[in-house]
């Protein structure tokens, strides 16, 4: 189902619309929030909140609204609020473990993926959100700029800076990996 059509069905309160929205966006939003918070259980709560908001606001969303941008905007705002709340006790996972003797072996895709996720925890806002939206969720710069409320050019600069940092942290793995 195209995004516009899904939005239309949500606006009209069609019974299967929430189901479709959950299937289309649910796992992506859960992944997004989980990486932003580093906390699975908080991510599940926040994801629920995003869909509750969707159902509440859907009838009033304009027909031309970009549904995925709207959902990621809500998800990001809620997550940032949550992170502010627990800033004091925020757990910063340690970055990549030191290289061990098997470092010369080729890193698997899974290892690279895990390393990227850990490295992302080291990014500050708004670099983390930007990187998550573009590199992980695959949104184009235009949509990301809409969600982040900044110019497209800024998205690119943040992406470059974010990748610079992540690259430094995962480089030993990525240069060995065979995608």
């Amino acid at each position: 189902m195209a995004e516009e059509s899904l939005l239309q069905r949500l606006r009209l309160g069609h019974p299967d619309a929430l189901e479709k929205a959950l299937r289309t966006f649910g796992p992506r939003l859960l992944g997004f929030i989980q990486r932003m918070t580093g906390d699975r259980s908080a991510a599940e709560d926040l994801t629920q909140d995003v869909f509750v908001k969707l159902m509440r606001h859907a009838p009033r969303l304009p027909e031309s609204a970009n549904l995925s941008a709207w959902l990621f905007t809500v998800a990001r705002n809620q997550t940032l609020n949550y992170l502010r709340d627990r800033q004091a006790e925020r757990r910063r996972p340690s970055i990549l473990p030191a290289k061990t003797e098997d470092a010369h072996e080729h890193a698997s895709r899974r290892e690279v993926a895990e390393a990227v996720q850990q490295a992302m925890q080291e990014l500050e806002e708004p670099f983390r959100s930007t990187f998550e939206l573009c590199a992980i969720q695959g949104l184009d710069y235009e949509s990301a700029a809409q969600i982040l409320g900044c110019p497209r050019k800024t998205v690119n600069t943040r992406m470059f800076r974010a990748w610079e940092k992540i690259r430094r942290l995962i480089r030993p793995l990525i240069s060995d990996s065979k995608p």
């Binding site: 309160g13 929430l18 189901e19 959950l22 649910g26 796992p27 992506r28 859960l30 992944g31 997004f32 989980q34 990486r35 991510a43 599940e44 994801t47 629920q48 869909f51 509750v52 969707l54 159902m55 509440r56 009033r60 609020n81 502010r84 709340d85 895709r109 690279v112 993926a113 990227v116 996720q117 573009c134 590199a135 992980i136 969720q137 695959g138 184009d140 710069y141 497209r152 998205v155 690119n156 600069t157 992406m159 470059f160 990748w163 610079e164 690259r167 995962i170 480089r171 990525i174 240069s175 990996s177 995608p179």
Partner: protein, 392 residues
Amino acid sequence: MNDCENTRELITACVYDRLDPLEEAALQAHLSHCSDCLQWRTELEAAAPIMRELGEAPFPPGFSDRIRKRATSRGLRLVKILSTLAAGVAIGLMLASLFAPATARHQLGEYLQAARWFFRQAEMIDPARAAKDFSLLRREMDAVGLEERNRLLLQSTSDPLAREWLTAAGEVLESIRTTSDPRPIRDKIRASELLEKADRIARRNGIEPRPLSPAPTPVLNDAAMETFYQARANLYAGNYRGASILFDSLSQDASYKEDALYWSAIAAGREREFSRALDRILRAARGRWGDRRTAEQILAIGIECDAVFEGKPASEATVEGVERMMKGAALVVSIPREDGRPMVIVAPRSDPLVRKFEELLLRRSAGRIGADEFNRERGRIFKELRDRSEKK
């Protein structure tokens, strides 16, 4: 930024977005002689598809059902409430926060704390202050139509958890309402009993009563309190710009400056100012509204407000009023009627009277006029607004 940095920005855009032909040509030209940037591109291109695979997190079993249940039950409640309102129930404001047990808990908690504080004051600290604060609290309850909303919500929901919260909230509101003056000894005994009861309700519902504030909160004069109500009404209705202006005007009142700055920063949604204000007045804010989390929860309640206004069918006014206020295009004014009940008016900001009112507030916030002149002018504007609404 040097050539390599420029090029790497282009590489990032090339992988994740798009390049125009000139950028593409510049990129190729640089890569033809720079092995470092070529390596940089190779690494990004190798990592990009792996990172894309991270996007989704599978739902745990039953998670979709939980979301579906929560999302649809709230939606249905909202429809029911709006239908009830459309049937002609005239209320000033309606807080959507009461739709959900979680947010009802925050609101209940807020009133429990207020009741607790006032009862304790009556018991041992400052009975005269307590009497005044009690009457102010009741006025605030009237201004936001809290008891009426609570009653309607209780009628409309069958969710057992929500019903428990709403019933508990109703008991607290009743206790605030029925203790007319906590000064006399009879009422002091009653106040103590109610305090115990409030604490029991709180504990039963998982709220740990907070310790009492070490410092008494400032007493507001009537004019400042009036402005405070206007500001809170705007904040709750989602008109942050209007609320911010009103809170700013209060900051001229020395006894209320800290709280006003705090609320103003919340209302303006300016994060930096908000953080700075929070740091500066954390101690005072804790005494009045609880910790930072509580303060943010109060803000969240404000964001979720719906509003109903005079002169239009309730459901229509709700949607239109909220939309206009969210855009900062309207201001909410709560004006006391002759019989003491508040009249809540939403007026577009293009309205000459509202403009005049905002200008007055700005003059007051800038300290260009004193409190007396401000009160006189405001009284005139309110009278005109009230007369105009009553004619309609």
